[in-house]
């Protein structure tokens, strides 16, 4: 069963916690419910985007530094 990780916010999506850091998660990695997969920056605040279910992160639908809107699918897990 595949699940979508949705952005609740508009802003800029980041896959890394900071410049020069490793990505939170890579495609193909296993993720657990509540695990952070990226950040969305809006109004100088960085909000963590988390997986809702245990599974495997199949793919990102938004690239690093990509623009997101509320309701956009950021990644798919299975």
């Amino acid at each position: 069963m595949s699940h979508q990780i949705i952005s609740p916010l508009p802003g800029i999506f980041y896959r890394k916690p900071g410049p020069g850091k490793e990505p939170y998660v890579n495609e193909g990695d296993t993720v657990s419910a509540g695990q952070t997969v990226g950040l969305v920056e809006i109004m100088k605040q960085f909000s963590e985007v988390r997986a809702e279910f245990d599974g495997k992160l199949e793919r990102f639908e938004i690239e690093d530094f990509g623009v997101v809107n509320p309701g956009d699918v950021i990644a798919i897990t299975s």
Binding site: P8, P70, G71
Partner: protein, 321 residues
């Protein structure tokens, strides 16, 4: 009576009609960023226009009411849940003591407003309950609400009006990703070249994610300034002026690249040329715009601006009668 905050949301602040009369001392007027939407919520719950509400930004709070309460949510489209059951926006909603209120993903716009009968009853600071986070005054201890806050709700009031259970579709704000914002040119449009003025008024500007209660930044083609010798006291860039007061809603273009509309929590003065000013009737429209909104600045005359203000006032008078 109070609301207990389980989750605060992204930036939920107490707001009212604003803190008028202190701008000359550097204290911005503040208040609900979309005044019209906020007053609709107050109308539904039987308040006056002056009661404070909760302004939610993109992500709303999750809260539990300590006592029975009458609430309404207005503004940007969003799903609303009471104990997990969907309830309508733009309608009066009755909560029982212990009920939990939470929100889904926002479906457009930026801000929605929660009014409660009796109003949010934080102490007034300089005549207003509005939160001004930069100045750390108003609202809950001068900041956005936080987990564990007990947000006080005021005693019942009588606004003397007939009960209104829902806002008619025609009276609800529209949330568009493509807008015309009316402006009056000035005070420093004379610093733009003819091409610069043409770019400002005849280009499409796109709202960037850099947008909040203080200001909203747009990307677009940029503008060109007249060649001039910068006067003593002004910075070297042609977008600089000798420091001056900023009108609420004024548009500055630092470096001539990205226009910034100064909104309700903006600084009251500085050294950037204000090329135009959003008319008061369209400040709520600007507040509703989410990142990516295509925007054109349309120049109007003072007469047209006053007519637009009058039209808004007439609509408000009808809703509040």
């Amino acid at each position: 009576m109070a609301f207990n905050i389980l989750e605060p949301g992204l930036s939920t602040t107490v707001q009212d009609q604003g803190r008028i009369g202190y701008y000359r001392f550097g204290i911005p007027q503040g208040g609900s960023m979309d005044q019209y939407a906020a007053t609709l919520a107050n109308r539904l719950v039987g308040n006056t226009v002056a009661e404070a509400v909760l302004e939610c930004t993109y992500i709303g709070p999750k809260l539990v009411t300590e006592a029975d309460a009458v609430i309404a949510v207005t503004g940007a489209p969003v799903d609303i849940y009471v104990n997990g059951e969907s309830v309508p926006e733009y309608e009066r909603v009755t909560l029982k003591a212990g009920d939990e209120l939470k929100f889904g993903v926002i479906k457009g716009g930026t801000k929605y407003f929660i009014a409660v009968h009796g109003g949010i009853d934080v102490p007034e600071v300089l005549g207003s309950r509005s939160t001004y986070p930069i100045g750390a005054i108003g609202g809950m201890e001068g900041r956005a609400i936080a987990v564990g806050d007990r947000v006080p709700v005021g005693a019942s009031i009588d606004n003397g009006l007939a009960e209104l259970s829902a806002i008619a579709e025609v009276d609800r704000p529209v949330y568009s990703k493509d807008v015309n914002v009316r402006v009056m040119l000035g005070l420093y449009d004379h610093n733009l070249s003819a091409n610069g003025l043409d770019s400002l008024l005849n280009s499409e500007w796109v709202l960037t994610p850099v947008a909040d209660r203080m200001g909203l930044r747009y990307s677009g083609p940029g503008v060109e300034w007249k060649d001039r010798k910068q006067p003593f006291g002004a910075g070297q860039d042609p977008s600089n002026i000798v420091d001056a007061g900023y009108a609420v809603g004024s548009i500055q273009i630092p470096g001539g690249t990205q226009p910034i509309i100064l909104h309700r929590d903006a600084v009251s003065g500085g050294g950037y040329a204000m090329v135009a000013t959003v008319i008061s009737a369209d400040m709520d429209l600007v507040a509703r715009c989410s990142p990516g909104t295509k925007t054109r600045f349309v120049a109007v005359t003072m007469e047209q601006a006053l007519e637009a203000r009058q039209k808004n006032a007439a609509r408000a008078a009808r809703i509040w009668s």
